[in-house]
C-alpha cells in the first residue's frame, strides 16, 4: 500500500521536474501531457487508497526518513493516509488532473507553457505533502510550498506589473499568517515535546487551557492567511491576475482550503477550546457575508468568483468552528468541484472574449458557447445550493449546524449570505450568457473552447451534480477520525420549514438576479448611473476601502519607514556615529597639530609649561599631604 502512497505523492513531483526540464525551451506539448498523465496516476493511486481506507478502515502511516533531529526535536518526513487526508487527496488530485488537462488547451498559445506545468505540478506536490504529512512540520513544508507555487503562478505572466504585484502580495500576506503558524508549532513543540499529530494531540488534554488557547489562536492565524480570511483576504482577489486554471486549482479548490483542512486536522485541539472555535465560526460567518457583499457589485468576472470562494471558505470555517468538522470537510470537497468548474468555465469565456473580464461587456454568450453555458449554470446552481446539487447537501447542512448549535446570529448571517450567493452567481450567469450580445460593440468574435477542454471539465460537472449522493458514505468513513456528530433538527417541521424556506429564498434571489440582469437595458456602466454613485456601491466596489487602507497606511508607511531607517537612522545616526568617533580623533589631530608649530621657542615653552603644570600639581599634592591633618579637621568641621 505504501507504493500507492508514494505514487500518489511523488507523481506530481516527477511531472513537475519533467516539465521543468523543458522550462527554458520553447513550448512543447509533451511538457503538458506527461504531467497530466502522472497526475492521473496520482489520482488513481489516491482512489485506490480511498477505497482501501473506506473498505478496511485502516490508515496507512509511513515514515520515509528523518528530516531534522536535534536535541529533543525529532521531525521525520512522515506521511499518513487516513480518512481526512485521503479525502483531501482525492479532491486535490482530481481537480488538478482536470485542471492540467484543461490547461493544455488553455495555455496553448502561451510562451511559458512548459514553465506553467512545472509550477502547476509542483503545486500539486506541495499540496499533497500538506495534506498527507503526519506532523506539523511536514504540514508547514507543504504550506510554504503551495505558497511558493502560488507566487510563481499568480505572477506567471511576470511582464504584467499587476500580476507580479499580486504575487508578492499573496506571498507576503501568507507569510504574515505563516508566522502565526510557526509560533503555533513552537508552542506545540515546547508543550507536548513533539510535532507528530498523534502524539501531540494525545498530550494536549493534559495541558493548561491558556496554552491550548494560544496554540489554537496561532494555528488559526496560519489558517487565516492561507484561506484568506479577514483581514488577510485582499490577496485572494488580486490573485486572479494568474492564469485561470491556476485560479481554479489553487484559489478555489485546493490551496485556499488548506486553512480549513488545518482546523479540521487539529480538531482534537479545537474541541478543547470551544471559545476559539466560536471565534472561528463567527469570523467565518462574517467573512461569508463580507465577501458576498463585495461580490454583488464587482465587475470582474474572476473576482466575483474569487469573492464567492472567500464567502464559501467562511462557511467552512463557520462549520469547523462550531465543531462540525466533517461538515466543513464535506463542503470543502463539494465546493472544490463546483467552484473549479465555475472557474474553468470562466476561463473558457475569457478565452472566447480575448481576456475580457467585464461581464457587462459580454451578454448573450450562451448562444455561442453552449457547453460552457450549461456547465457554468449548473455550477452556479450548485453554488447557490439548490436541491439536489452538491451545494445543497453541504451548504444547507452548515446552516443547520449553526441552527442546531443555537448560534442564531451565525445562522441568520449565513442564511442571508446564501441569498446573496445565489444573487451574485446568477448576476454573473445572466450578464455573461443572457441578454443582448453586447460584446459585438467591442468587435470580439467569441468561440467555444477546445472540445477536450470541455471533456476534461465534465468530471467536475458530474461531481458538482451528484456529490451530494456520497454524503452518507463519506460520513461513515470520515467519522472514524472526526467527531461523529450528526446534525438533525429536532423537529421535522422545523427542518422542512427551514429547508424549503431556504430554497425559496435562494430561488427568489436567483429570479431577481435574472430579472435584473437579462433586461435589454443593460449597458456597460460608465460611472454615471445613480447606483454607481451611491455610498454603498462605492464602498463595495472599493472593497470597503481595505486595500486602499493597506496601500496607504501599511505598505506606504512601511516603505517610507524603511527609507527613513536607511537614509536617516542608518546613515545619519548609526554610521555617522561611527564615522563621527573616527572624525573626533582626526579633527582633534588637525586642530591640535598647530601645537607643533615648528618654532623652537614654542617648543621650549611647551616643555616649561608641562613642567610647571606638573609642578603645581605636585605642590598642591605636597601641601595637601603636609597639611593632611589640618585639612581633615577642617573638613570634619564642615561636616563632610
Amino acid at each position: 500500500m505504501e507504493l500507492f502512497l508514494y505514487t500518489a505523492l511523488f507523481s506530481p513531483l516527477v511531472g513537475s521536474l519533467f516539465a521543468a526540464l523543458f522550462g527554458a525551451s520553447p513550448k512543447s506539448k509533451i511538457a503538458g501531457i506527461v504531467p497530466s498523465i502522472l497526475l492521473g496516476v496520482s489520482f488513481l493511486s489516491s482512489l485506490v487508497l480511498l477505497i482501501l481506507v473506506m473498505m478496511t478502515g485502516h490508515t496507512i502511516h509511513v515514515e520515509m526518513m528523518t528530516w531534522m533531529a536535534t536535541g529533543d526535536l525529532y521531525i521525520p518526513f512522515g506521511f499518513v493516509v487516513d480518512q481526512v487526508s485521503v479525502t483531501m487527496m482525492i479532491v486535490v488530485t482530481l481537480v488538478s488532473t482536470v485542471v492540467h488537462v484543461y490547461a493544455i488547451g488553455y495555455m496553448d498559445h502561451d510562451k511559458g507553457f512548459n514553465r506553467f506545468f512545472a509550477w502547476l505540478s509542483a503545486f500539486v506536490f506541495s499540496m499533497m505533502v500538506l495534506v498527507m504529512s503526519d506532523n506539523f512540520a511536514g504540514l508547514f513544508i507543504g504550506w510554504e510550498g503551495v505558497g511558493l507555487c502560488s507566487w510563481g503562478l499568480i505572477g506567471f505572466w511576470y511582464k504584467k506589473e499587476s500580476a507580479t504585484w499580486a504575487a508578492n502580495e499573496a506571498f507576503i500576506m501568507n507569510r504574515i499568517a505563516d508566522l502565526g503558524m510557526l509560533i503555533g508549532i513552537f508552542l506545540i513543540y515546547w508543550n507536548t515535546g513533539t510535532l507528530q499529530y498523534e502524539e501531540a494531540f494525545a498530550a494536549m488534554p493534559s495541558l493548561d487551557t491558556a496554552v491550548l488557547t494560544w496554540m489554537g489562536i496561532f494555528l488559526f492565524i496560519g489558517a487565516m492567511g492561507k484561506s484568506a480570511q479577514f483581514p488577510l483576504h485582499t490577496w485572494l482577489a488580486d490573485a486572479m491576475e494568474g492564469p485561470t486554471p491556476v485560479s481554479a486549482l489553487i484559489h478555489a479548490a485546493t490551496m485556499v482550503t488548506a486553512g480549513v483542512y488545518l482546523v479540521v486536522r487539529a480538531n482534537p485541539l479545537y474541541d478543547l477550546i470551544p471559545n476559539v472555535g466560536l471565534f472561528i465560526a463567527s469570523l467565518g460567518a462574517f467573512v461569508a457575508l463580507f465577501a458576498a457583499s463585495m461580490a454583488l457589485v464587482n465587475r470582474d468576472m474572476k473576482r466575483v468568483i474569487a469573492y464567492s470562494t472567500l464567502s464559501q471558505l467562511g462557511y467552512m470555517f463557520a462549520a469547523a468552528g462550531l465543531g462540525a468538522y466533517w461538515v466543513a470537510l464535506f463542503h470543502l470537497m463539494a465546493h472544490a468541484f463546483f467552484k473549479a468548474l465555475l472557474f474553468l468555465g470562466a476561463g473558457n469565456v475569457m478565452h472566447a472574449m480575448h481576456d475580457e473580464l467585464d461581464p457587462f461587456k459580454m451578454g448573450g454568450l450562451g448562444k455561442v458557447m453552449k457547453g460552457t453555458f450549461i456547465m457554468m449554470t449548473l455550477a452556479s446552481v450548485a453554488l447557490a445550493g439548490i436541491f439536489p446539487l452538491a451545494g445543497f447537501f453541504s451548504k444547507d447542512l452548515i446552516l443547520e449546524v449553526a441552527f442546531i448549535e443555537h448560534h442564531f446570529i451565525i445562522y441568520a448571517v449565513l442564511l442571508l449570505t446564501a441569498g446573496l450567493t445565489a444573487f451574485y452567481s446568477f448576476r454573473l450567469v445572466a450578464l455573461i450568457f443572457h441578454g443582448e450580445d453586447r460584446y459585438k460593440h467591442f468587435g470580439i468574435d467569441p468561440h467555444e473552447a477546445y472540445r477536450f477542454m470541455l471533456v476534461a471539465m465534465s468530471p467536475l460537472l458530474l461531481l458538482a451534480v451528484i456529490a451530494g449522493a456520497f454524503k452518507m458514505g463519506y460520513f461513515n468513513m470520515v467519522t472514524e477520525l472526526l467527531p461523529a456528530t450528526e446534525y438533525h433538527v429536532h423537529s421535522a417541521t422545523t427542518y422542512w420549514i427551514m429547508t424549503i424556506g431556504t430554497q425559496l429564498f435562494v430561488i427568489a434571489a436567483i429570479a431577481y438576479a435574472y430579472k435584473k440582469y437579462t433586461s435589454k437595458d443593460i449597458k456597460v456602466p460608465d460611472g454615471t448611473s445613480k447606483m454607481e454613485n451611491s455610498f454603498g456601491y462605492k464602498l463595495l466596489i472599493n472593497q470597503y476601502y481595505i486595500p486602499h487602507f493597506y496601500e496607504n497606511y501599511i505598505v506606504k508607511a512601511y516603505r517610507e519607514l524603511s527609507e527613513v531607517f536607511w537614509t536617516k537612522v542608518d546613515q545619519k545616526v548609526v554610521d555617522a556615529t561611527v564615522d563621527g568617533i573616527a572624525n573626533i580623533f582626526y579633527q582633534t589631530g588637525e586642530k591640535t597639530r598647530d601645537m607643533q608649530s615648528g618654532n623652537l621657542s614654542t617648543m621650549l615653552k611647551w616643555m616649561v609649561a608641562g613642567m610647571v603644570v606638573l609642578l603645581s600639581l605636585a605642590v598642591v599634592f605636597g601641601l595637601a599631604a603636609r597639611h593632611s591633618g589640618e585639612i581633615k579637621t577642617f573638613l570634619s568641621g564642615l561636616g563632610v
Binding site: 621657542s601 614654542t602 615653552k605 616649561v608 609649561a609 610647571v612 609642578l615 603645581s616 605642590v619 605636597g622 601641601l623 603636609r626
Partner: protein, 192 residues
C-alpha cells in the same frame, strides 16, 4: 654676620646680572652680564668653602666659556639690537608666579632631612682641593674619565661642525657634482 652680608650682596648681584642677561636686547650687555654673574657665583662657592669649585668656576666660565662665546660673537654684529618677536607674555608671567610659589614653599619648610649622614664627609684639617682630589679619583674616577670622553666628543663635534668641510654638502649634491668637486680639490692641492 659677614656671611650674611656677603650672601645678600652677591645674591643681589647675581640676580641682577642674570636678569640683565636674559632681558637685555643688547648681545654685548647680555654677554657681559652673564660673565659677571658667573664670577659672582664663584663667590658663593668660596663662602661655602668649596674653594676648588670656585676656582674652577672662574677658570672655566670667565676663561674658557667666555672666550668661546666671544669667539662666536665675532661672527655676529653685536652692536645692533637683537630683535626678538615676543609672543604670549602670559606664559612668562605664569611661570614667574609658579616660581614664586616654589620659593615660598622652600622658604617655609626646611628641606634638610634630620638624619642625613654624609657619605663622603669633609675631612677635618685637609684643604678643599685635597678632599676633592681624594673623592674625585676614587669614587668618581669613572665619571671623571667619562667626562673626559665627553669633552673629547664635544671637541670633535666642535671641530667637525665648524670645519670647512661642512661648507659643501655631499647630501645635497648628486654623484656628478661630487666627482667634479673631488677633482677640483685635488688639483687645488697641487697648486699651492
Amino acid at each position: 654676620m659677614f656671611e650674611a652680608v656677603a650672601f645678600y650682596l652677591f645674591a643681589f648681584l647675581t640676580i641682577s646680572m642674570f636678569y640683565i642677561a636674559v632681558t637685555t636686547s643688547q648681545a654685548l650687555y647680555a654677554l657681559s652680564a652673564l660673565a659677571a654673574g658667573m664670577i659672582f657665583i664663584s663667590a658663593f662657592f668660596f663662602i661655602l668653602g668649596a674653594d676648588f669649585l670656585g676656582a674652577v668656576q672662574i677658570v672655566v666660565y670667565s676663561g674658557a666659556v667666555m672666550a668661546l662665546y666671544a669667539f662666536g660673537m665675532m661672527f655676529f654684529d653685536t652692536t645692533r639690537d637683537v630683535k626678538e618677536k615676543q609672543g604670549n607674555k602670559a606664559i612668562v608671567i605664569g611661570l614667574s608666579v609658579i616660581s614664586a610659589v616654589l620659593v615660598v614653599l622652600i622658604v617655609s619648610a626646611p628641606i634638610i632631612g634630620s638624619n642625613i649622614e654624609a657619605f663622603y664627609p669633609v675631612t677635618e684639617g685637609a684643604g678643599n682641593v685635597q678632599e676633592v682630589g681624594m673623592v674625585l679619583f676614587t669614587k668618581y674616577l669613572v665619571p671623571f674619565e667619562v667626562a673626559a670622553v665627553m669633552l673629547l666628543v664635544a671637541m670633535i663635534a666642535g671641530i667637525v661642525l665648524a670645519g670647512k668641510k661642512m661648507d659643501l654638502s655631499l647630501t645635497l649634491m648628486n654623484e656628478q657634482e661630487i666627482l667634479e668637486m673631488r677633482e677640483e680639490s685635488k688639483s687645488k692641492k697641487v697648486l699651492p
